[in-house]
């Protein structure tokens, strides 16, 4: 390749300035032009993400140092035009015009242009020339253009455009020094010398409109107001200053139509006409377009048969990776958390603080961290697919299918990812530009059957559906549970798009970018960013919900007084006996031992008389005793093993019963009893209701909670998954569930097949997942949508479970 040419426009020397003002550079460009790559190359690691109230787009901010001076860099969302139609699209315009509160007006706008696709890319640049800010054009991907036989005379183009044009290769970091130099010299300097010529009639209308609205609008927005039919400038102005402005604008547009320059065609004609003029003579194209690699690859990847096949293979790979690839790491995280919790419980005295640490904070942190493998893996794939250009093809292939439920092809991958886990799936909806489509996808994504539903399905199918039925019934039931989401999600999406999220069908019109080899650095960065963003924004909320549920199940922890009294009586009796020992003891040793025991016991009695007995202290004491017995069993001779095992089992049962009693009388247990009338029509007793309540932080928690309230101690959802139908169906918990009867009707079992199905259907449809809600809150930046999701899904789940139980009981 030839060495890159020198900077095209002669630049005036830097102006002497007394105080070095921090200069700001705004980076503007079409999607798929390598904007992120350039931003990363200029800003290095010094970046952070900025948000604005009321919008869901993010702008990245960074710093660039050139010749000892620091520049602030703002990376604006990629766009094809500055004609804003929504608050999200308005962010870039407001920011460059200096209307974004708290943001300095940029001193220079850097527009990034794809050299292989010059005409369409320059459209945005011609708009930028009108913003009243100095402009520098970076001509990216000149290597790709040259390969296609396109030659651009950057110097000539710069003269014609009236702003500096710097050819660069962002991915290879070529000519970036020249770009930095040009930016430093242009920032805060002369405004662009030229603009796209509009017809005189238009200029007249724009000027007179601006004269009227001078106080409210800069000149740029007065033009946009006139040009963008139904655009955001019009909406915002009408909202702030009344509908009469709309009438004025419409009258002006009518006059323009009569003068043969109708809106919006006039803008496209003016800009693309000028662009043709600019490029004629300084851009050489081959007379016949050569067949590119993209053509060849696309022939396969969008082919009716092969394209579909490759698509299915890629989707399977993505799905399989997040579904099973993340599992070992997730299990490892779970095991590490359990290990740490056990160690902490051993070291620390029993009490609220220890329990908060081990069952609240540690569980919560574990619940947050456990999502990281899935998120990072999915975003790795998304970054690769997007960077290489396949994402657009996937949307192309799937659009018709998704259009049936009112969405577009861009919703497919987020929905598919949600089958593994809704959290990364919801984060992946960022590829959907249309706000309503994105929201609809976010709201139905949690309906897809995720892996957290598996433990409860496996346990209940294993315990109630499988026994005594043909081998295929279990599989079919499982399949039916998975299908619920696949059927209900599109229906809900359709309903939402027809009611709450009703509006003009968004344009699908989507660029199919050139294929290229994805850059490892971009991919790794996306993976890291997504994981970090999740931890920071959703992590605290998930943690908080875990701690809340912990507290509801921890308090009150005082054992009932009648039991305390009985224990005290026992202890006093034991003490009395111990105090007799010294009188009858033969040896000094025995005497001293008895005195020490009596001392310890009377301290314990004093303590219990003062504080009463606490469940967790009691459980802890029993567990320590259990450990002693187990220790004893290890060293015991063979013939004593059996009797020792009996003692150990007895102790374990005692502990489990105590734990169960503690949780059943906790605040949450009482809530469960209070809501029993509401869950009775679903075939549930209060214990199931309580387990459902306790699973608010995460669905899989329901298995653990059932284990505790059915006196089976801690049951691990991971184990249930590992065991499969048969193992789970034969587990002690399953037997306990099979044997459980109604409190007020002990002759009848609580769990029948309809009850089990109703519970499964409830968990298929409900949104008992604080992480999902936290991510929805983070992505929509409002509490409204997570609340809405929770309510609509819970209602849906209740109705579903009700129908299943009532119909099932009739059959």
């Amino acid at each position: 390749m030839n060495p890159l040419p020198p900077p095209p426009v002669s630049l005036s020397p830097p102006r002497p300035s007394a105080a070095p003002k921090r200069l700001t550079i705004a980076l503007l460009g079409n999607p798929n032009t390598g904007k992120t790559t350039l931003f990363n190359a200029l800003a290095g690691m010094r970046q952070r993400v900025g948000n604005y109230p009321g919008v869901t787009v993010e702008t990245k901010k960074g710093q660039m140092i050139y010749a000892g001076q620091t520049f602030d860099l703002v990376d604006l969302p990629g766009t094809y035009s500055l004609a804003a139609r929504s608050p999200d699209e308005m962010v870039a315009v407001d920011l460059i015009l200096g209307q974004q509160p708290g943001e300095a007006r940029p001193d220079v706008v850097l527009t990034l242009v794809d050299a292989s696709n010059l005409e369409r890319n320059l459209y945005l640049t011609t708009q930028a020339l009108e913003l009243g800010v100095p402009v520098v054009v970076a001509l990216n991907m000149i290597d790709v253009a040259e390969k296609q036989g396109i030659r651009i005379d950057a110097q000539e183009l710069s003269l014609r455009l009236g702003v500096p044009v710097v050819p660069i290769q962002a991915n290879k970091k070529k000519n970036l020094d020249r770009l930095k130099q040009t930016l430093a010299l242009t920032a805060g300097g002369d405004l662009p010398a030229k603009q796209a010529p509009f017809p005189e009639a238009f200029e007249r209308e724009a000027t007179s409109l601006h004269d009227v609205l001078k106080e409210h609008l800069p000149a740029f927005l007065a033009r946009r107001l006139l040009l963008d039919v139904g655009g955001y400038t019009e909406q915002r102005l009408a909202q702030r200053h009344g509908q009469h402005i709309r009438m004025q604008v419409q009258a002006a547009r009518q006059r323009l139509a009569l003068a043969d320059c109708p809106v919006p065609a006039v803008e496209a004609h003016a800009r693309y006409g000028w662009i043709r003029q600019l490029t004629t003579g300084c851009v050489q194209r081959p007379s016949k377009r050569p067949v590119t690699w993209t053509d060849r690859i696309d022939r396969v990847l969008t082919h009716k048969f092969w394209g579909t096949l490759v698509f299915l293979a890629i989707m399977f790979l993505v799905f399989q990776s997040i579904f099973t690839g993340a599992e070992p790491i997730m299990d490892l995280i779970g095991d590490a958390k359990d290990w740490l919790a056990d160690r902490l419980a051993d070291w620390l005295p029993p009490g609220p603080l220890t329990s908060l640490l081990t069952d609240g904070v540690l569980e919560g942190v574990g619940a947050v961290v456990v999502f990281l493998p899935q998120i990072v893996i999915l975003f790795g794939f998304l970054a690769i697919l997007e960077d290489c250009g396949y994402m657009a093809r996937a949307a192309f292939l799937m659009d018709k299918l998704m259009a049936r439920c009112g969405l577009s092809g861009k919703s497919f991958i987020p929905m598919l990812s949600s089958v593994a886990c809704a959290v990364p799936g919801i984060m992946a909806t960022r590829v959907i530009e249309n706000r309503r489509d994105r929201l609809a996808t976010i709201l139905v994504a949690p309906l897809m059957s995720c892996s957290a539903r598996l433990p409860i399905y496996i346990l209940l199918i294993g315990a109630f559906v499988r026994p005594g039925r043909p081998w295929w019934v279990a599989g079919v039931t499982m399949f039916a549970m998975y299908s619920i989401g696949l059927v209900v999600a599109p229906l809900v999406a359709l309903a939402l798009k027809r009611t709450l999220l009703r509006g003009e069908t968004p344009a699908f019109v989507m660029e199919m970018p050139l294929y290229k080899v994805p850059a490892a650095r971009t991919v790794l960065r996306r993976m890291g960013d997504s994981g970090w963003a999740f931890l920071r924004r959703a992590g605290t909320l998930i943690l908080a919900s875990m701690i809340l549920v912990w507290a509801l199940m921890y308090f009150p922890r005082a054992e009932p007084e009648s039991r305390v009294q009985k224990n005290l009586d026992d202890m006093h009796g034991r003490l009395a006996l111990l105090q007799l020992v010294p009188f009858t003891a033969e040896g000094e040793d025995e005497k001293r031992q008895a005195e020490e025991s009596a001392q310890a016991l009377s301290e314990e009695i004093a303590c219990m008389e003062r504080d009463g007995e606490k469940y967790d202290v009691h459980v802890d004491r029993l567990e320590r005793e259990l450990d002693d017995w187990k220790e004893k069993q290890k060293d015991a001779p063979r013939e004593e093993q059996a009797s020792l095992q009996k003692v150990i089992d007895q102790r374990q049962r005692e502990i489990n019963e105590l734990r169960g009693e503690w949780k059943r009388q906790s605040i949450l247990g009482r809530m469960g009893q209070a809501i029993e009338p509401a869950v009775r029509p679903l075939g549930w007793d209060w214990k199931i209701g309580m387990a459902a309540l306790a699973s608010f932080p995460a669905r899989e928690v329901v298995v653990g909670t059932l284990g505790i309230i059915y006196n089976q101690g801690k049951t691990d959802s991971k184990d249930v998954r590992r065991k499969g139908f048969e193992g789970a169906g034969n587990s002690p918990l399953a037997r306990e569930l099979q044997g459980s009867t109604w409190d007020d009707d002990p002759a009848h079992a609580v769990f029948t097949v309809p009850t089990a199905l109703s519970l499964m259907v409830f968990f298929a449809l409900c949104c008992q997942c604080a992480s999902t809600l936290a991510v929805i809150r983070r992505e929509t930046r409002s509490w409204r949508w997570p609340s809405f999701t929770f309510v609509y899904m819970t209602v849906l789940a209740y109705i579903g479970a009700l129908v299943v139980y009532q119909v099932g009981s009739l059959l």
């Binding site: 296609q148 139904g230 809106v263 657009a392 949307a395 292939l397 003009e504 968004p506 019109v509």
Partner: protein, 77 residues
């Protein structure tokens, strides 16, 4: 005059006009579908919709319903 959605794969046409002034048409204008411009249909998705076209040296995908708003004159192959 034909509309863009009526073209077969491989056919080339010249844009005559876009119908309407709504968001969709504004978007098509921005993407460079201006009257006089040459376009070629280069593919159709396996399910029959959307189309992939080539315009101004790049590729664009749009639905049939959207393509029906683009009036064209088919050029002899």
């Amino acid at each position: 005059m034909a509309s863009l959605d009526q073209l077969h794969v491989g056919q080339t046409a010249r844009i005559e006009s876009l119908v309407g002034s709504d968001t969709l048409v504004q978007r098509l204008y921005e993407m460079g579908l201006v009257d006089g411009e040459k376009i070629e249909v280069i593919g159709i998705a396996p399910l029959g919709d959307p189309l992939e076209i080539s315009v101004r040296d790049y590729r664009l995908s749009l639905r049939r319903s959207e393509a029906s708003r683009v009036l064209v004159t088919i050029l002899p192959g």
